[in-house]
């Protein structure tokens, strides 16, 4: 029984990180109705940014994090400006294909810049594991969860209470009406990509701290896409709930059934849930024709 709780806690902690990645997908989807297949690789780039600042340039971890966030914001804005802005008003499927292309470009670029080898991120978090009532949570996972929670909470507050957050939600709700309010809709798209890229980079640093860093790290993004679908593409709360659920189920199957099933069982559960709720746990029921 004690093991159940301990395994659950570790699973939920990993789930929190999934949630952070998932929120990045949701941000972009809600405002632009684009599924961003490059999100996983933007996350990988964020981790490499941190690696570059903290390890290669040897900067203090706080400065490195700030620089990583700035670099990630630049990456997001750059992708939006160069690749997506010209496609404004085109069908979502064309833009989705462009994001697939961006994913390949980022993957290749990472191999060219940082080589294909495995690296370890310099530790950010304290080395001691977190012990709650004799339950043992690995330090990186535990602190990573807290970072994810903080970042998600921060963005939620931003959307809820700031003027630009309201403008972004208005844009997500009705682009043409938002335009008639004097809201610069293309600028809002750009801001969305910046925010999504920042969440991706933070998630990348956390994931890179838990595992190792290599250019294939972006693949995690694809499995998190399943989380996003489970939560309902356009719901931040849904993404958080689904992230926690998938992380939890993954940890339980890994412990009770065996590591080989770890990647399978969550998706079986996901299929089962989608049969009952085709638009996800918290998604807007809407038929998307591609």
């Amino acid at each position: 029984m004690d093991f159940f709780l301990e395994v659950s806690l570790v699973g939920l902690a990993i789930g929190g990180v999934y949630a952070l990645v998932a929120v990045g997908y949701v941000l972009v989807y809600r405002t632009t109705h684009v599924i961003n297949f490059a999100h996983g690789n933007m996350m990988m780039f964020g981790a490499y940014f941190y690696f570059t600042f903290a390890e290669l340039l040897g900067l203090h971890w706080t400065i490195s994090i700030v620089l990583t966030v700035i670099a990630a914001a630049g990456l997001g804005a750059g992708i939006e400006r160069v690749a997506l802005r010209p496609l404004l008003g085109r069908p979502a499927i064309s833009i989705v294909m462009v994001t697939v292309g961006i994913a390949s470009i980022l993957h290749g670029a990472a191999q060219l810049i940082w080589t294909a080898g495995d690296f370890f991120l310099p530790p950010i978090f304290p080395d001691l594991p977190i012990v709650i009532d004799e339950m043992y949570i690995p330090a990186n996972t535990g602190y990573g969860f807290l970072v994810a929670l903080g970042a998600i909470g921060g963005f939620l507050l931003l959307f809820r209470f700031t003027r630009s957050g309201v403008a972004m939600r208005a844009t997500a709700s009705d682009q043409i009406a938002a335009t008639t309010m004097g809201i610069n809709v293309p600028a809002m798209f750009s801001l969305t990509w910046v925010y999504a890229s920042i969440t991706a980079a933070l998630a990348g640093v956390v994931v890179g701290s838990i595992t190792t860093l290599n250019p294939s790290m972006g693949l995690i993004g694809l499995s998190v896409l399943a989380v996003v679908i489970l939560g309902g593409m356009d719901s931040v709360i849904g993404a958080v709930a689904a992230g926690l659920i998938v992380g939890w189920i993954e940890a339980l199957t890994g412990f009770y059934i065996g590591g080989a099933f770890k990647d399978v069982v969550p998706f079986v559960v996901l299929l089962a849930i989608l049969i009952v709720r085709p638009h996800g746990l918290f998604g807007t029921p809407e038929i998307e024709r591609l």
Binding site: G89, V166, S173, T179, T180, M181
Partner: protein, 266 residues
């Protein structure tokens, strides 16, 4: 009186093929209420969208002619920029942000205004529409149709425009609510000197509040003039106001469309 908005001989084409406006012209003088009347599909809404720059969203374009706002050609302006310069379009069907609260809807409209005293602007809106004040924290999607229309006009007030384009403010509303909304529209025009270009199906109502009217058919203006002239026009009376030539209300049954052609068609 100075002209704030002038539409000169515009032609609008959708999808590069469907021509909707065929040389339409109109002008809105400072502080005036101008009505744009016509049957379904005549091109009224398209005219408003051409003015506010929303045509590209529907793959439409102004193929020829030009539109000036305070003397500046607006062809090259981004639509959100026009809004910030004082041209506010209240779209047909209200288009409130349904998952935002009433107050957040008003906050979104502050992007149109350079004024940063938002609290004062909200209070003015609530002054015009006390019912919105009661519901300021509710999601706009849960408001009734009339309240949503109030909110749509409230957003325009927050924006402090110089010209308001109103597209069918009476659409789908109960007669009492229509009266209330039109009272406020008149007050806004009178108190703030906002010029209004009003598109309405309800011609009687529109000619009550407007000082000048244009009647559009098949994408061009067929008749225009001060409302007194329009109200006295035999064809306008019969086809738009539903009155007989003697001024009494007339049954639709007696209107012999097949006998009498509108004079402007021949």
């Amino acid at each position: 009186m100075a002209t704030v908005l002038e539409v000169n001989n515009i032609e609008v084409v959708y999808q590069h093929t469907v021509q909707v406006l065929r040389g339409l012209s109109l002008s809105v003088p400072e502080g005036a209420v101008v009505a744009l009347l016509g049957a379904n599909g005549a091109g009224k809404t398209t005219t408003l969208k051409a003015v506010s720059g929303l045509l590209p969203f529907e793959n439409g374009a102004v193929a020829s002619g030009n539109i000036t706002f305070f003397g500046d050609d607006i062809a090259r302006s981004a639509p959100h920029d026009l809004v910030r310069r004082g041209l506010f379009h209240v779209m047909e069907g209200r288009r409130v942000f349904e998952d935002l609260s009433v107050e957040e809807n008003l906050l979104a409209a502050t992007y149109a205004s350079s004024n940063r005293q938002t609290a004062k602007a909200y209070d003015e809106v609530y002054g015009y529409f006390p019912r919105l004040a009661e519901r300021r924290r509710q999601k706009a999607g849960y408001l009734s149709g009339g309240e949503q229309q109030m909110l749509a006009i409230g957003r325009a007030l927050v924006a402090e425009p110089k010209v308001m384009l109103l597209d069918e403010p009476s659409l789908g509303l109960a007669p009492l609510l229509v009266q209330e909304i039109f009272d406020v529209i008149t007050r806004i025009n009178r108190d703030r000197g906002v010029a209004i270009l009003l598109v309405e199906q309800n011609a009687t109502l529109a000619l009550e509040v407007a000082s000048y009217g244009y009647i559009v058919e098949n994408g061009r203006v067929v008749i225009d003039g001060p409302v007194e002239t329009l109200k006295a026009d035999r064809d306008v009376r019969e086809f738009y106001l539903g009155l007989g030539s003697h001024g009494s209300a007339r049954s639709f049954r007696d209107v012999k469309h097949y006998r009498r052609r509108k004079r402007w068609l021949s």
